[in-house]
Amino acid sequence: MKRFVLAAMASLTLWVPALAQSTGDLGLVVERASGSLLVVDQSERARIGRITGLGDLSHASLVYSPDERFAYVFGRDGGLTKVDILEQSIVKRVMQAGNSIGGAISDDGLYVAVSNYEPGGVRVFDAETLDLVADIPTGSKTIGLVDVPGTRFVFSLWDTGETWIADLSGATPQITRIAGMGANPYDALVTPDGRTYIAGLFGDDRLTALDLWQDPPTPQPILQGYAADREGLPVYKMPHLEGWALAGGEFVLPAVGQHEVLWVDARSLRETGRTATHGQPVFAIARPDGRHVWVNFAHPDNDTIQVIDTMTKQVVHEFKPGPGVLHMEFTPRGHEVWLSVRDAGKVMVYDTETFEKLREIDAESPSGIFFTARAHRTGL
């Protein structure tokens, strides 16, 4: 309202200020217990607002519209919520399933897809209205949903070990099913070019890659037997695979049931090394320049961060930000990183060169941190 009056006054003069607020350095932090989102300003290292009323946000994630104004939030309770970052309000909210795990937005920004545990499958919604566009039941808990070029989504089936590609570029979705990915895929990633899809397996001692430029793609085992002859440790939290895995020319991937990260050449998909870590890795995320990889860990080691140098594959820095480090998000060019420290009720901002803590921001049980620059990245 005030803006409208200001605009009206401004229009009476020759000098017309630009009143639109830019969103390029904003972001959202999931407050998992209270069902709210903090709106944050990455340049100011500050919170600038809060959006409430989003339901059960444990394990919530979100994606951004191409104009970086709207976010689509995927809640564990099956809620899909569209929020307006500028107005700091909910635009629309639908309960689309009983139990969901993640989502993606198509390359053209027209479709938002959600992967569900219950009922198992993927549902696709109109990004403008949140009307249901396509229902793709899979008969399985469905995980590892990503967007790839060509208005396609790729996702995997926990119960049957398949990966499906849903092409939404035509009038009706075209589904390609790829069997034989392996037992119990728990998460997956796609490279920033949308070419290589890698599924992590809980039930097999390897990962599986697909070259999405092949037609049809055939499953290619990678890191076969990485834990062979070693005792599998209890897995207190499934690792996450994200499109931030590319460090230099290699992927860095969390091992399941082992205290290590695994390195794989991005072209040949052959193993190039292993780095022993403090605990079982949850996220292994490359700084945007790829020179360092930051790793956090599963309970009971989730108070610690290790930083690994990509050149030497050695841990170069280790510190304990606090209890329950759940997520890390780099600024788009990587000069700073934001960490959510759940049980401290803080988001902590660090310089990624000096490792100096720059700021603490109060938040209620923070988990995922998402900067708007993700809007322009495939697979995030």
């Binding site: 217990a33 059960d56 309770d77 808990k141 809980f202 209890p234 897995v235 207190y236 939290k237 499934m238």
Partner: protein
């Protein structure tokens, strides 16, 4: 429904008996209840959901667990379920802590 309600009532009575028994025996210091509740919500919750209604793992709210006895649940927590993602918590939890968690799960949030 009736049997569920009755078993919840029984569980609740057992819960108070257990609590008073523990207090009488001077064992309340053995477990850190707020820390265990946080563990259930946050760490069990990473698979079973923050509200325990299920996720990768099944629903573990009181109604869903009503037909299990406490010993079975205790064994599942301590030793996990082989062939599934349910891990053994024996390396991290003591028997009194597991007992507290089992009672908590069977009764729900009684505060």
């Amino acid at each position: 429904m009736q049997s569920t309600r009755r078993s919840r009532l029984v569980n609740r009575v057992l819960f108070y008996l257990a609590m008073s028994g523990a207090a009488a025996a001077g064992e309340t210091a053995a477990v850190d209840a707020p820390a265990l509740e946080r563990l259930v919500r946050q760490d069990c919750g990473s698979c079973h959901g923050l509200t325990l209604k299920g996720g990768l793992g099944p629903d573990i709210r009181p109604d869903a667990l009503a037909h299990y006895d406490a010993d079975t649940l205790s064994a599942v927590i301590l030793d996990g379920v082989p062939g599934t993602p349910m891990p053994p918590w024996r390396p991290l939890l003591t028997q009194p802590e597991v007992d507290w968690i089992v009672t908590y799960l069977l009764n729900g949030d009684t505060r």
